[in-house]
């Protein structure tokens, strides 16, 4: 029986002055404290009684979390506290990382995206995270401030299971960084929900493609699948088909079939596993066809 609190349970709000202080607090109150950004998942889980931490540590505004910068030589850095609407409206993001902007705009509602953050979306490690595919396809790397200093966590190895990630107690993600993407490239995020917009994804297919002389086919396609496995993942077999075989309607269909074979969806209240499997195939095929039309011309 799902019977959440009418409001938030009793909690203490902690606003540290520095990353060091925040990290130290989290370590000192291990199991009792949790960092939060927009709170859009945190508050819901606390009302549900699913998370029971006593302290919520607000890391918005700490060093580096509140800036978004683009360097034409190095790439894009998005502070962890930057809400999704700021990301998708940022001219450098729109120009150079349009797939990320598009993925942001599929999350929930406009007003929720004024609080929800990309880093929060990643740290929740939801199998359904809408922005994770774009972040993986663009080669995102997290900057983590932890007890042992600052380190980099590539997304490729960050997710450990539904709701589980590579962070340790006291770790605070301050930003996500992306290298300069291939120019030109074409990306597409196909999200299928029960409603046309605003739902969680039943299936999320992210595709990014660009010309690549190193690939036998002359193109590299990246395919990231969400909501169809414990964590979002790169569909490598599909990618390989399109790297090695000439890109045609047939090989795209073959890659889509390979994506379908690679997933391990579950039956849940949102969808059956069977429907998810077919949707992976159909949406991957659609997304690949669309980006192929753009990238080949």
């Amino acid at each position: 029986m799902h019977n959440p609190h009418p409001g938030l349970p009793e909690l203490e709000y902690v606003k540290p002055a520095s990353l060091e202080e925040a990290s130290a607090f989290l370590v000192a109150h291990k199991g009792e404290a949790r960092p939060f950004l927009g709170g859009t998942d945190t508050f819901v889980r606390m009302r549900d009684g699913f998370w029971k931490e006593k302290y919520l540590v607000d890391i918005k505004g700490l060093d580096g979390t509140n800036v978004i910068t683009f360097d034409p030589a190095k790439g894009l850095t998005i502070g962890s506290a930057i809400p999704m609407n700021k990301v998708s409206a940022h001219p450098d993001v729109k120009k150079n990382y349009s797939l990320l902007a598009a993925a942001c705009d599929t999350v929930a509602s406009y007003q929720l995206r004024n609080r929800a953050t990309i880093v929060g979306n990643i740290c929740n490690a939801s199998p359904a995270g809408d922005t994770i595919g774009a972040c993986m396809a663009y080669g995102g790397v997290l900057t983590v401030f932890g007890a042992g200093g600052v380190r980099q966590e590539p997304l490729a190895t960050f997710f450990k299971g539904p709701g589980k990630n590579a962070l340790q107690t006291g770790d605070i993600v301050t930003a996500i960084t992306f290298p300069i993407p291939p120019k030109p490239h074409s990306g597409r995020y196909m999200k299928l929900g029960r409603n046309k917009m605003s739902d969680l994804s039943i299936v999320g297919v992210t595709v990014l493609a660009y010309k690549d002389a190193a690939a036998k086919s002359g193109y590299t396609f990246k395919v990231v699948l969400a909501s169809v496995a414990p964590v979002p993942f790169m569909a490598e077999a599909a990618q390989q088909i399109l790297a090695e075989e000439p890109v045609t309607e047939e090989s795209i269909g073959k890659a889509a079939e390979a994506a379908m074979q690679a997933v391990k969806p579950i039956d849940d209240v949102r969808s059956s596993a069977r429907y998810r499997s077919y949707m992976v195939r159909n949406l991957t095929r659609q997304a690949l066809s669309e980006v192929w039309q753009q990238v080949k011309s």
């Binding site: 029986m1 799902h2 019977n3 959440p4 609190h5 009418p6 409001g7 349970p9 009793e10 299928l192 029960r194 409603n195 046309k196 917009m197 605003s198 739902d199 969680l200 039943i202 209240v269 949102r270 969808s271 059956s272 069977r274 429907y275 077919y278 949707m279 159909n282 949406l283 659609q286």
Partner: protein, 783 residues
Amino acid sequence: MATAQTKETTYIGVSKPRVDVREKVTGAAVYTDDIQFGAALLHARVKRSPHPHALIKKVDISKAKELPGVRVVVTGQDFPYFTGLYLKDRNIFARDRVRFVGEAVAGVAAITEEIAEQALDLIEVEYEVLPGVFDAVKGAEPGAPLLHPNLGDYEVPNFIFPVPDSNIANHFKVRKGDVETAFAEAATVVEHTFKVPHVQHVPIEPHIAIAQVDGDGNVTLWASSQSPFAQRNLIAKSLNIPESKVRVIAPLIGGGFGCKAGVTMETIPVAIAMKAGGHPVKFRLTREEEFYTNFVRQGLTAKVKVACDKNGKLTAIQNQMWWDGGGYTDYGVNITRAGGYSGTGPFNAPNIWVDSMCIYTNHPVGGAYRGFGMSEVHTGIVQVMSMLAEKAGVDFVDFLKMNVIQEGEKVLTGMTMHKTGIKDCIEKVAKEINWGVKDAPTAPNRKRGKGIAVMWKAPAMPPNAGSSALIKLNEDASVTVMVGGQEIGQGTFTAMAQIAAEAMGVPFESVKVKGPIDTQYSPYEWQTVASRLTWSMGNAVRNAAMDARHKILEVVAEAWGEDIENLDIKEGYVISYASEESISLKDIVVYGIPREGYNGWVGGPIVGSGSFMPSYVTGLDKETGQGDRAVVHYTTGAQAVDLEVDLDTGQLYIHRAVSAFDVGKAINPDLVRCQIEGGFVQGMSSAIFEEMRLVEGVMQNPSFVDYRIATTMDVPAKIDAYIVEAAQDDGPWGARGVGEHPMVPTIPCLANAIYDAIGVRVPNPPLSAEKVYLTMLDNGVVK
């Protein structure tokens, strides 16, 4: 009885602006939760059953009482009386047995909502879990676990037929002609079993009620309510106190759709407040509680069999319905009755057999939901007619026109059908949707189709549900109309202002109709349900206005020494057609008129009163369902859609929806269109998205995250609404209601269109993208 009028009208049939909107757009409108009670306010939370069916062995509240900040803890032992709108089968808190997940077992009031919540964990309840009933059809079979062993002893009105020692809380029957022979002799027969899932109302405002009990035991309840008078009655019953000791105040309501009719959670704060020493006690459902503890639209299993002759003329209709009533059926038994006496849909056949059974199950409790059973009934009956027409080789629109009920024909219960515009509605939507023309899809991976559906619905209520109205005139000649019917968004206050203005002859702008409804001061109204206010309360307001008008004219006639027949009221002035004198109401409606030479006065403050109650509804025979007049009237209509199915995902793209309803007379045409549009979207939402996922009685999706309703992105760009007017003989200016009807035909309308598009039928809602896709996959439409 009021009669339809034909003379020219000033405010009837005119789209006057709503009277309740400025406050709503500025945030000034007061809803129940907006009333401020100050520091004395206590907050209530409820301990709920985690089991669908169990005996309560022990409830220990001692620890909860000790928690600092907790003021009151009550259990079922404190409140032994039964209540219920039709069948009296409920207590305020479960006493010896719980019958659905979420049923109230104990209540707590504390100084904050959070402390009350914490106290719930300290209440210990010992249960003995019992086998449950999770399927209505199985629940009706002999040997099923009995939910209410004392069903035979419950108090029940004489038109509800429980079957003692079973889970059948009501069995309504129609037996007319000989269906078996008709099926044997028919040219074409179709039979299909349909299933409609439980759905939820989803008002954006969750249920909320605040109660206060004074030292003399007088109860005041502020509630988001469609039914302040019914609640006064039911709460008094459940506490075994006289109605006069209960006062219900109902401010504006943030959506009801039936779930705020009757009583659901409102007795709980009252029960707690009785022990709270005069403190007001607020109880507000969380959104999650709103989903699974509130009234639900019952699930339905309907086995429908129909037959026609070689020309497509219907010869027999058989509809057997098992309604999943939930743990208590105090309201659900009458939905079952309505489903039964309207069980043919708006179709006519010489041979009819209907069984409509309300079955106790260990599911959430069924209650009124916009349409009162009709969406569920029409899901089956309209689709099966479409199947029959196809099998018989008759175009569906031709089939409909041949077989829908017509004026003068006997409906299934023996009542003679009144004037109805259903054929006009069918023709209108068929023409607008370009019926018979197959339009091309807009993309290669889509298929396109059209669907059409018809409907009927009668107000479902006790035979003698009454309305009343008071009208008082103020010094400035403004007119205050007092009613007991609630403004729930449908625009009834505006329609009543138009009716009063028209009947009195005063400017619309001078008429005020405002809440809150207060049982202590407002005149009686049975409930704001059943699409009955425009017709029933409209008659009462019209009668009150005519009464006030007559009193004014009597005064003037006496003062002027004129024949009252020569006097009239126009735009706030009394005029005489004989003397051509005129006088402003302002000068006379409170202070009267001086006699000539100030030789005394005539008149005084003018107050008009009016009431209305149908007097002609008869009972129906228990075994045959036959009687002279089962209902007051039927509102009819038709709907059509043009849609596409995405072959890659199964998603629907609705290009256009067209609806036409016979409202008798549209008092305010634009408000009628608002109901038709909003009703279509609610119907579409329930048809495509909505289903309470119940597993062993536990709802799996009790939140907006997983109970999806239509958003801005899901609705068609255009919904056309057409008004047909075949006057109702006893409606004000011929009006009858239309609030519920627009969503009634939507499920079969969409299902028929999907079938037209993909060639395979997806009969049972929700017609989700998943279900449509997998049906296409399993039938080779896609690979």
